[in-house]
């Protein structure tokens, strides 16, 4: 189920209800995220952007069906699903390795929801909707790597972690899925972090602590990086 907002609905009168309520959607870090500068003054060394609306589906191959799973994936997305820690992007989806014989489908606009994918992987994989289970934070800026070096024990040197590299790992004892997207126009590397929703506010504050000395630019976006 997509985590993009559903318009508030008025209950039909014949249901004789006094209630009128809406299903407004709230990002788990909506309160913690204050758009604007943070920490040291001057040119921001790190920019942190929450990407708010996306569909996220975990695809896990059934026993002995890893190979079988790749065909429908290729058919649907036009690219092979990653079989090692990588992220591959297509026009309307990003496939991110999330463990042996499993991957995430990250997309938006309801195109690749669980419902939409269930037929595709009917016999070869199990699907689990994670759209609401994670928060997506995009990190860039000249000091992005230095800030991440405080949180991540893996080597993010350009040679060791090039664009398209992915990892399921822990940041500050919190499980995350990390991948490097395409560099920004200015050449800055972009790191994307999917963190469990209930940990997100906590990790967000840790990120701010870690980045404060470099100066931070905070924002949020509806668009996938």
């Amino acid at each position: 189920m997509s985590n993009s907002a559903i318009p508030s609905s008025t209950i039909r009168m014949e249901d004789a209800s006094v209630a009128e309520f809406s299903w407004d959607i709230r990002s788990p870090i909506e309160r913690a995220l204050v758009v604007g500068p943070y920490g040291a003054l001057g040119e921001a060394g790190v920019s942190l952007t929450e990407i708010r609306n996306f569909d996220l589906v975990q695809v896990m191959a059934r026993r002995g069906k890893a190979a079988e799973m790749t065909k429908p994936a290729k058919a649907r997305f036009g690219v092979a699903a990653p079989e090692m820690p990588k992220a591959v992007s297509t026009a309307d989806a990003t496939l991110i390795w999330s463990g042996p014989d499993q991957f995430f489908v990250l997309s938006k606009g309801g195109k690749h929801t669980t419902e939409a994918l269930v037929q595709t992987f009917a016999s070869s994989a199990s699907l689990s909707d994670q759209s609401h289970a994670r928060v997506l934070i995009s990190i860039s800026g000249p000091k992005g790597r230095m800030m991440l070096a405080k949180l991540s024990s893996i080597d993010l040197h350009p040679d060791a972690f090039p664009a398209g590299a992915a990892a399921t790992t822990s940041m500050d004892h919190t499980s995350v899925t990390l991948w490097r997207g395409n560099d920004r126009p200015d050449g800055q590397a972009v790191f994307n972090v999917l963190v469990f929703a209930t940990f997100a506010e906590s990790l967000w504050h840790t990120m701010l602590d870690s980045a404060a000395e470099y100066g931070v630019e905070i924002g949020h976006s509806e668009d996938l990086a």
Partner: protein
């Protein structure tokens, strides 16, 4: 107003004379320069007395110029930032620095405790083991407090550390410890080879001994070569140079610990910056170029202020342009010591004499002596006349027995050099002895680590450069970097000649470990008493256990032990070297994991909504959960909780239960899989149904419980307790991947995907009708007890609805995608207005579960069986499952086990407390009749009294029995009745209705 820098040379030194810095030592104001350490600034100001020793409170001065310093320890900074035992020799000077001497009262010059020196004959090594035993009670009351007050050195701050710390990771091919000639050469070679290099230097200036001893490299003066080299390294890609950073430890898998003193050179760290940063450096190879430490010679009075290591004296004169003395003598047993004479002469100091323990001295040195009119004495220093104000006279016993006296106000001592073997020995490798230099050199270094230069026992400048370069190149190659390293820097080696001399016999105290006041005779005493093993020696005399970690004392100590036992030094051996190489602030190891950010915080999807309602939160593991929702006018939590319970029992209420672990179990074998992990059967569960399940550990004791629903043929939705969510996932993955790999099943945590609410109370259906799409049939027939299915909600979103009850009321649990959690809570409040809907917290939840006799954390203690919990009948006999066999062991099925029962005070007004023990009525409490205890309690609004659950011996057979609740901790004793644990609606009509 600052005192004049009486002992500062007019020119020279790596100090910035244009940047004077004022500082205070023991309240007196002095001035130094940018580039000074506290020690060099004190030297420049003619300060000799800087501290008092540990046991005898003897006056002490500055012995060294580095992190090996045993004496010159101060309290640096004040108040919350006070740092005890800070080495003046490594503390960078800054404007306004405040330092105080330690371990003296009332003042450094007049220290009352120096009377201890009178008792010195009694205060020998280990004296306290032989006395203070009578009368027994006096130890805690009198002796020990006195000892504790006397012990210790500086005073730590007594309020929270206001500074911040953090930790970071770094990765490289080659990490190098030390930026002396060997370290720099290694960095050049590795860098040119294309390796990713990190060079750590504990000093704030790069160059190591080059800064004090100079020399000529590649035909250039050392200073010029240094500048050229640093420029090259700065422009070499992936070479990272970290000053003020000490590599302190080596851990498994090529992980190195380093501490960066980011802002210690400032009064306080700038805003948003840390004081220190802990680095974990992951490297393929490590080059230890940490140099060597000059060692003292042990002689009477060797702790007199003004006695200083020869190399340290060169450092103060050359690097800091500060003169420790006007007229110096040198006591050496090796060639290197003579450099200090050359340095002193060059700086225009007088040289009184050189006492050289070697049989003869080179002609060059002889002519140096005659040219500069000082004598060369063959022999040893046997005593020092001096005290607080420094050295006055030096007694010399000449080879052949004659005596001589030398007048000098400073004595430089050189006993040779000990390679810094710490890092290479931290994996219990023992250094090996090299006779030619009479020193231990690295051996058995951890994988990937190699020492070079002085750290490897090769002291010559040429050797340091060539060996450092070769080691750096090899390290790069091993890491797969094969670029052209070019040519190694070249320099000559100084002549090396040394005659071992450790201890000069003589009258008066001769100190081996100056900080711990361990004397040569203490070591002889230890040997006499059988503490011959070096480890026993260390523990008995405390040799080498002070803040300098024995850097200047250990080898001398075991050399003396070797002498008295008649063993060789290598036979005597070394103690085990232990990290860290230098003491590291505890705060740095903690980083930002302190105070509120000690651990992460997990928030439920409706957290912020609950906060708006003024909920009180409780920590449950990492979670913050709403504990209760106080209302204006309620006098305490009990009143609020009671209201919440009554509201649920009479109307409807809801509670966020999203903290439960939730796991999607997919796959054709999902049912078979669950049959093996639960004691009861799930393969037979119909789609659209939920069932309570119980898991055991393989040892047969209860592990976890929860309801699991079948949403499709090949899809179950499993829930765990909040506490065990992560562990159960790990356990299930173990079962899936290791125990039952043949089963086709997939597991995914969906704990964070769903916001789950329990809606309970007789009016639950009325409330749900407002939320759920009218097309959904919620009638008892359409949605019976233990039903579970997906439903549509008004407004079009999908939810999972489970008709399960923890409260014992007509109840549902509903799951909506997590980002709707806040909306769900708001909508429930709005839709529930007509029915008086009430949000309730974990306390009310707990009350209702106790009233209903459900077991939870306190009963699932990891020591209870299914039968203990009254759930024995759930154990299937038709299948194998985790824990089945071990659950059958005799003691686990014994009839006298403590089992779950209900407990209520006979006096209805009486409060029941968890942790009270159960004793048979009329018996005196004792180990033999301690029959169990109260596990969970609550005030039951429904029964209008305190009730509880307990684990009681044979409890189920004793329903109705009056027993004694014994609670000596809280001074309570009262009668209670053992009763059916289900206090409320025992036949379960309400939850089915």
């Amino acid at each position: 107003m600052a005192g004049a820098q009486t002992n500062r040379l007019d020119n020279g030194g790596l100090i910035d004379r244009s940047a004077p810095l004022n500082f205070r030592f023991d309240g007196k104001t002095f001035q130094g320069f940018q580039g000074d350490t506290l020690a060099s600034a004190l030297v420049a100001n003619g300060v000799k007395l800087v501290g008092r020793s540990f046991k005898y409170h003897r006056p002490r001065g500055i012995l060294t110029a580095g992190s090996e310093e045993p004496n010159a320890l101060v309290e640096l900074r004040t108040g919350a930032r006070r740092e005890a035992n800070t080495k003046a020799t490594t503390a960078e000077l800054y404007e306004g620095l405040e330092a105080a001497s330690q371990n003296r009262w009332p003042s450094l010059r007049h220290d009352v405790m120096s009377v201890n020196q009178l008792f010195a004959p009694i205060f020998v090594a280990g004296f306290y083991y032989k006395t203070f035993m009578w009368p027994a009670k006096f130890w805690e009351m009198i002796y020990e407090p006195a000892i504790r007050r006397a012990a210790g050195l500086g005073r730590a701050a007594i309020v929270a550390d206001p500074d911040h710390y953090d930790k970071a990771w770094a990765h490289c091919d080659v990490v190098i410890a030390g930026s002396g000639p060997a370290g720099l050469a290694a960095a050049l070679a590795a860098g040119r080879s294309g390796a990713r290099v990190i060079l750590c230097e504990e000093d704030f200036t790069l160059g190591g001994r080059l800064l004090s001893d100079g020399g000529t490299i590649d035909g250039l003066p050392a200073a010029e070569w240094l500048t050229r080299t640093l420029t090259e390294l700065a422009s070499t890609p992936d070479v990272r140079i970290m000053t003020r950073t000490t590599l302190f430890g080596v851990y498994d898998g090529g992980t190195y610990g380093a501490i960066e003193r980011v802002n210690d050179y400032l009064p306080t760290p700038p805003e948003h910056q840390v004081r220190q940063r802990l680095w974990r450096i992951v490297a393929q190879r490590c080059v230890v170029a940490a140099g060597a430490i000059e060692r003292p010679i042990v002689f009477a009075g060797n702790d007199t202020p003004g006695v200083m290591m020869a190399s340290a004296m060169r450092t103060y004169v050359t690097r800091y342009a500060a003169t420790p003395a006007k007229r110096i003598a040198l006591f050496t047993n090796n060639e290197d010591g003579w450099r200090t004479v050359e340095t002193a002469l060059a700086a225009g100091l007088q040289v009184a004499a050189v006492i050289d323990a070697r049989p003869d001295v080179s002609p060059a040195h002889r002519s140096l002596a005659s040219r500069n009119g000082f004598t060369v004495l063959h022999g040893s220093v046997s005593g020092v006349d001096g005290g607080k104000d420094g050295v006055r006279k030096i007694a010399v016993s000449l080879t052949g027995g004659a005596r001589a006296e030398v007048e000098a106000d400073g004595l430089a001592v050189s006993g040779g050099w000990n390679p810094a073997v710490g890092l290479t020995s931290y994996h219990r490798g023992r250094p090996k002895w090299r006779d030619d230099i009479s020193a231990f050199v690295p051996d058995g270094a951890p994988p990937g680590m190699a020492a070079a230069g002085a750290a490897n026992g090769d002291f010559g400048l040429g050797a340091c450069l060539s060996q450092g370069f070769a080691t750096g190149a090899a390290a790069a190659r091993d890491a797969g970097r094969n670029g052209n390293a070019g040519a190694a820097p070249i320099a000559d080696d100084e002549a090396f000649s040394l005659t071992p001399l450790w201890h000069v016999a003589g009258k008066g105290k001769a100190f081996v470990d100056q900080q711990h006041d361990v004397t040569a005779s203490d070591i002889e005493l230890a040997q006499r008493e059988g503490f011959e093993s070096v480890e026993h020696l260390k523990r008995y005399t405390t040799l080498g256990m002070a803040t300098d970690q024995g850097k200047t004392s250990n080898v001398a100590g075991l050399a003396i032990m070797a002498a008295v036992t008649g063993k060789s030094i290598p036979e005597t051996g070394t103690t085990i070297y232990r990290p860290p190489y230098v003491p590291v602030a505890i705060g740095a190891f903690a980083g930002h994991h302190r105070d509120e950010t000690f651990h992460a915080t997990r928030l439920t999807p409706s957290h912020h909504w609950a906060a708006e309602q003024g909920a009180i939160f409780v920590d449950t593991g990492l979670w913050k959960r709403a504990q209760w929702y106080p209302r204006a006018g309620e006098k305490d939590w009990l009143e609020s909780v009671t209201r919440e319970v009554k509201a649920v029992r009479s109307g409807v209420g809801f509670c966020d239960v999203s903290t439960l672990g939730k796991i999607d179990v997919h796959g054709p074998d999902a049912g078979a899989f669950l049959d093996r992990v639960y004691i009861n059967t799930f393969s037979s569960l119909a789609v659209g149904k939920a069932r309570y399940g119980l898991m055991l550990r393989e040892d047969g004791l209860v592990y976890d419980d929860g309801t699991t629903s079948r949403l499709a043929e090949d899809h179950y939705f499993l829930t765990t307790t909040t506490a065990k969510a992560g562990l159960v996932m790990q356990h299930l993955e173990f079962c899936r991947q290791v125990l039952f790999p043949e089963l086709d099943v997939q597991l995914t945590s969906v704990s964070d995907q769903w916001a789950q609410f329990s809606i309970a109370g007789p009016k639950t259906r009325d409330l749900l009708k407002e939320i759920v799409d009218p097309a959904e049939d919620l009638s008892n027939e359409g949605f019976p007890f233990m039903g579970a299915r997906e439903v549509a909600l008004r407004g079009g979103i999908k939810a999972r609805l489970f008709r399960i009850s923890f409260s014992g009321e007509m109840a549902f649990e509903i799951s909506v995608p997590a980002r709707y959690g806040g909306a769900m809570a708001r909508n429930l409040m709005q839709a529930g207005k007509p029915f008086g809907v009430t949000p309730y917290g974990t306390e009310a939840l707990g009350v209702m579960r106790v009233e209903k006799g459900h077991v939870a954390g306190p009963e699932l203690s990891g020591t209870t069986t299914a039968a203990d919990l009254g759930l024995g009948k759930m154990m299937s006999t038709k299948k194998d499952f985790i824990g089945r066999v071990m659950a059958g062991r005799e003691a686990l099925v014994a009839p006298d086990r403590q089992v779950v029962v209900g407990i209520k005070p006979v006096d209805k007004a009486r409060r029941l407390r968890s942790g009270a023990h159960i004793i048979p009525k009329g018996q005196t409490p004792g180990p033999d009749n301690d029959q169990g205890y109260v596990t969970s309690v609550c005030f039951s609004p429904t029964l209008d009294q305190w009730i509880g659950l307990g684990l009681v011996e044979r409890g189920r057979e004793r329903i109705g029995e009056i027993v004694h609740a014994h609670d000596p901790l809280r001074g309570e004793d009262y009668d209670v009745e053992l009763c059916n644990p289900v206090f409320y609606d025992p036949d379960g009509g309400r939850q089915r209705g």
